[in-house]
């Protein structure tokens, strides 16, 4: 029902802990799945939800399509894929100060893209359950994007490719 993903690179313990805690108190874990990133020695491994460190790209797309809600770090791969398949996505930005990423570009993503339809930013992971519940109960739809980039960008590139 819920697909949790932290992207292809770094673990994101703060998010996975919050999800696991919530799954321990509800029956959501049974139908949900978490992709937790490449685990190292100290990486948190959830106990109340099925998980894998990484999954293949095809499985990633399948899980996005099958889910009712995506819960994710604020990474563009997850956000664009969720929008592409019309799935609501709750995004929790990684913070550089907590050692979760090299810099705070995910906060910038929340600021500049967080108001688009179907994208639900959560800055405090304690608010995650309430946000996901609200989406599940309201049956909120996801955002929508066409299959490809904006025409003007495609045309700029096509022009450049053929001018030389």
């Amino acid at each position: 029902m819920i697909f949790v993903t932290v992207g292809t690179q770094l673990p994101f313990d703060r998010l996975i802990r919050a999800v696991d805690k919530w799954c321990a108190q509800s029956d959501l874990g049974g139908e949900s799945f978490a992709q937790i990133g490449r685990a190292e020695a100290g990486t948190y491994r959830p106990e109340h939800i099925s998980w894998a460190e990484t999954i293949r790209p095809a499985e990633f797309q399948e899980r996005v399509q099958a889910a009712r809600v995506i819960v994710s770090h604020a990474g563009m791969g997850s956000i664009i894929t969720a929008m592409r398949f019309g799935k609501p996505i709750v995004i929790v930005p990684r913070r550089a100060a907590l050692g979760e990423h090299r810099n705070d570009h995910q906060l910038a993503t929340v600021k500049w893209l967080g108001n688009r339809p179907g994208i639900y930013p959560v800055l405090d992971e304690a608010e995650l359950p309430a946000q996901v519940q609200q989406i599940l109960e309201s049956g909120a739809a996801g955002g929508a994007v066409p299959a490809f980039a904006e025409d003007r960008l495609i045309e700029t590139l096509r022009g450049f490719i053929h001018e030389g």
Partner: protein, 161 residues
Amino acid sequence: MGQKRKHVMAVASAGGHWVQLSRLAPAWAGCEVTYVTTDPGLEAEVREAAEAAGEPQPRFRTVIEANRWQKLRLLRMVLQLAAILVWHRPDVVVTTGAAPGVIALRLAALMRTRTVWIDSIANAEKLSLSGRLAGNHADLWLTQWEHLAAPEGPDFRGSVV
């Protein structure tokens, strides 16, 4: 007319950079295409997309994954990308980042191959470090945020979403 088809090499690491690159595919419709990424698992997606678009099957090559602190892996990535570039000799290299994009673009620039750097849409407040390392060497340097465009580059020409 009668000209040789352009050969486009489209480069991005797996994940968000790749998702953005693949949304640009109509720009190289009708060209000879070589994709370069870091995850062999993406080949199926490339094959399906070409079929759906009615395009001939592109080449698909992978290089090792590396970030900026993994010097030995980066060196291997440089050698792999150099080999791919020298062997296939594209007319244009297009990349959305990250590490393989910077390296492919710098190598291509040395070979006088024309290059495009499209900074990730994730960089909404300032250009990425890799964008600053690569952008100045690109023939076409684009940001996906209008407020980041500058007279000395990059330009803004729309975004992938």
